[in-house]
Symmetry: C2
Subunit: 169 residues, 2 copies
């Protein structure tokens, strides 16, 4: 679609090849998120993003992380995280603890019940990720995709103080 | 995390390299969707998924598509599509028309106002997609990423009658 009037301001429209890549990316990303959400809802009663939070906690020292760090690692807003943690707390999988050294700080802690839940859900989830993603890639594609995604993720997290990042909102 | 007891059933856990790729992918996908949603909300008053629907319509013959086709192309559920189209209709950008040959069928049609809105929003959006995505990729990465994403998207859309696909729910 070409709608600009001044040639000097002509946008650099996507080429046919770029359009194909962009659509393939959007389709794969949308289908993958739907697929993994369905798989985890069915097998573990939680959406994909909740599972990612539990994985972060199980890998953290003493199975706990500051809420701010959890939001930053998950790339989500603080309000979305609060909502997720409230639900996980209700299920008995996470508990919140105040931070002794910082009145405003709070930790999320994985409970034993949460750990058991995660251990039960992990084999099915890793198998779903393999089937949908890794098993379909050649080693070259795996490498290139990893490199490309790292560069894109870094580019979207500028270090400037005023950057519009989900966890700073 | 290794929790299986029977060696025969040992899940194929992700290698360190696979974990890095998976996290980079998840981070980039989450940040990209947030970034493009914010850009379009700010500049055009709509989320990214709505913009994608308008683009589909502008490219269709007579700027109209069946609702079922629109949901399939966008890889979303029919209920999510209905909700989106209701909002776009309220903005005057889309109207619905009954299908003369199929009582249950309905078309979504891009209005002139919707077309104008899209023309205004397109340059800013294509520039955001370039900056965040294409400008960061080498030609080899672009090629590999396109190929990988096509394979992943195809794998997630099996042809079987009972496949659990968003637009068939």
């Amino acid at each position: 679609m070409n709608t600009a009037s001044a040639p000097a301001e002509e946008p650099r429209w996507l080429t046919d090849e770029e359009q194909r890549t962009w659509r393939a990316y959007m389709h794969a990303a949308t289908l993958l998120e739907d697929h993994l959400d369905r798989q985890l809802q069915r097998d573990a009663g939680m959406p994909h993003v909740y599972y990612g939070l539990l994985v972060q906690l199980v890998e953290a020292p003493r199975r706990r992380l500051r809420m701010t760090e959890l939001a930053m690692n998950a790339k989500i807003t603080r309000s979305r995280l609060s909502h997720a943690i409230a639900r996980l707390e209700k299920n008995g999988w996470v508990r919140r603890e105040d931070c002794p050294s910082d009145k405003r700080g709070q930790f999320a802690v994985l409970t034993d019940q949460g750990h058991q839940m995660l251990s039960k859900a992990a084999p099915g989830h890793v198998s779903a990720v393999r089937q949908a993603f890794f098993d379909r890639l050649t080693p070259e594609q795996h490498q290139a995709l990893g490199d490309a995604m790292r560069v894109i993720a870094e580019g979207l997290q500028p270090k400037d103080a005023g950057a519009d990042l989900p966890w700073l909102r």
